[in-house]
């Protein structure tokens, strides 16, 4: 279980998170919503080790990992994707899964099911955005993550693409993984039956969420 306790974060003196408590159970699906600038991405960055909180603790299965760097968290199974897809323009996408051919072969059904197999030998600028987002998720999934954080996967996607992306998540995220979707559009969260929490004024609000 990954727990965030009493997180506080300031940017230039402005409080973004003000005492957030949340815990992520393996096998659960959580949707984190909230308006612009409410600290959704900050929360995700803290949970994955890309930012350190001013106060509070991150606890993974009872161990305090608050000051672990991002690469260490990633090795412990806390993975993420990015709001703006990050690929190297100079490499074909197969190389950017950063894994061996053996693992790619073993997971061929997943690549096929996601419909990305035809794109493996393309450069990122030759591929539409929804496919790139799927490849980012698959890059994380090939490592069998225990916690997977998606940062605004719907940004720049049309409704049909989003539907397809939701199906893909439902099909390939297994019960070993806790999926956390940070998002301000509700369609995707409903599609994957996520428990929705909302960030408001630096605090977490659960239940009674206006949609």
């Amino acid at each position: 279980m990954l727990e965030l306790k009493g997180l506080k974060k300031l940017f230039d003196g402005i409080s973004v998170l003000n005492g957030v408590d949340i815990s992520f159970q393996q096998g659960s699906k959580i949707g984190l919503s909230g308006g612009n600038g409410t600290g959704k991405s900050t929360l995700l960055n803290i949970a994955t080790g890309f930012l350190t909180p001013e106060e509070g603790a991150i606890i993974l299965n009872g161990d305090n990992i608050t000051h672990f760097e991002a690469w260490k968290l990633s090795r412990l199974g806390v993975k993420r994707t990015f709001q703006k897809v990050r690929f190297n323009d100079a490499l074909i996408l197969k190389e950017q899964l950063y894994t061996s051919d053996k693992i790619i072969k073993r997971n061929l059904h997943m690549l096929e099911g996601a419909g990305i197999i035809d794109y493996l030998y393309s450069f990122p600028n030759e591929v539409p955005l929804p496919i790139l987002r799927k490849i980012e998720v698959i890059r994380a999934l090939l490592d069998r993550p225990k916690y997977l954080f998606l940062d605004e996967p719907s940004a720049g996607m049309a409704a049909t693409d989003l539907n397809d992306f939701g199906e893909f998540l439902k099909d390939y995220i297994d019960m070993e993984t806790c999926l956390v979707v940070v998002e301000h559009r509700m369609e995707l969260m409903r599609k994957i039956d996520a428990n929705i929490c909302e960030l408001r004024d630096g605090k977490l609000v659960t239940g009674n969420i206006m949609i």
Partner: protein, 300 residues
């Protein structure tokens, strides 16, 4: 082969070591203006171990590699928080500091072939290894060229290894690297160290070839050239740096009527090449395209 051609080829081989060491650092995403100092440390180390201590050349060159790698390791730890412009300037000042301290190294011994040993600004004279072992310039070229080839072939083989792929990812995007569990620190430190060692090894060969070294030889212009070679050659493939070396020394210096204006032409040429190929001639994208073509051909 005339002596002139042999000398030019040897010089090309020796400076290729600096170019490759600059290339190794560029892979992890940093620009070093300081590889000339590691070249110098290697040169002094080899001179000391052959001329003063009478060690075997293989031992001497290994020592040159190790000692300059250790200095580079120090640099990588000092600059652990710096990147981009800051790392470049820090590496420059580190290199100049090392070079300037060579002016203060003074330890000479009188032998029957003259004064031997580092003597401050006078430099290290009488490195007589090639005379004592009767190495002709052609033979020395063979030694230098075969070590360079061994280095390049091993780099080509390592190109597809996990180590190099991860290092390239660290150089391109540290955030993605971290998100898939790669520790940037490790790759940075090991590549900067390795690059220092490679430069030091080349410096060792240079000291043996030149038979005389002094601190002013390892100034910033040497580093500029090495860096420029690897930049215009491109980061896609280990042969890139050699293209830069070839353009500068092979083309400009060996053509007699150009050699007087070599610096003027080469400086402009580097800037012009960077406008046309901002990532160098053999860019990573070009290499990926060629690889893809080859795969398509195999499948067809």
């Amino acid at each position: 082969m005339s002596l002139y051609i042999v000398t030019i080829l040897t010089n090309m081989t020796l400076i290729s070591f600096i170019a490759i060491s600059a290339y190794l650092i560029l892979i992890v995403g940093e620009v070093s203006f300081g590889q000339q100092a590691f070249f110098g440390i290697g040169a002094y180390m080899t001179a000391t171990s052959t001329a003063l201590l009478g060690l075997d050349i293989v031992v001497a060159l290994c020592l040159a590699f190790i000692v300059s790698a250790l200095f580079a390791l120090v640099l990588s730890f000092l600059t652990v928080r710096l990147s981009g412009l800051y790392f470049a300037v820090a590496s420059l000042s580190f290199a100049e500091l090392l070079r300037l301290s060579l002016y203060k190294v003074d330890y000479t011994v009188e032998t029957n072939s003259g004064t031997v040993g580092p003597n401050g600004p006078e430099g290290f004279q009488n490195i007589r290894w090639i005379f004592e072992n009767n190495i002709s310039p052609e033979n020395f070229l063979v030694i230098a060229l075969s070590s360079l080839l061994a280095l390049i072939i091993s780099l080509i083989f390592m190109e597809n290894s996990k180590l190099f792929k991860n290092a390239r990812l660290v150089g391109k995007d540290q955030i993605v690297a971290q998100s898939i569990g790669i520790r940037p620190f490790f790759y940075r430190v090991s590549f900067i160290t390795l690059a220092g060692g490679v430069a030091g090894f080349g410096g060792g060969l240079f000291a043996l070839f030149n038979t005389y070294i002094e601190p002013s030889m390892f100034g910033i212009m040497l580093g500029v050239h090495g860096l420029a070679y690897s930049i215009i050659g491109g980061l896609g493939y280990p042969l890139g740096p050699l293209i830069g070396v070839f353009i500068d020394i092979g083309l400009l210096e060996s053509v007699r009527f150009l050699s007087e204006y070599r610096m003027i032409l080469f400086g402009g040429l580097v800037a012009a090449i960077l406008i046309i190929f901002p990532e160098g001639i053999i860019s990573p994208r070009l290499v990926s395209r060629i690889k893809r073509k080859l795969v398509e051909k195999n499948n067809a």
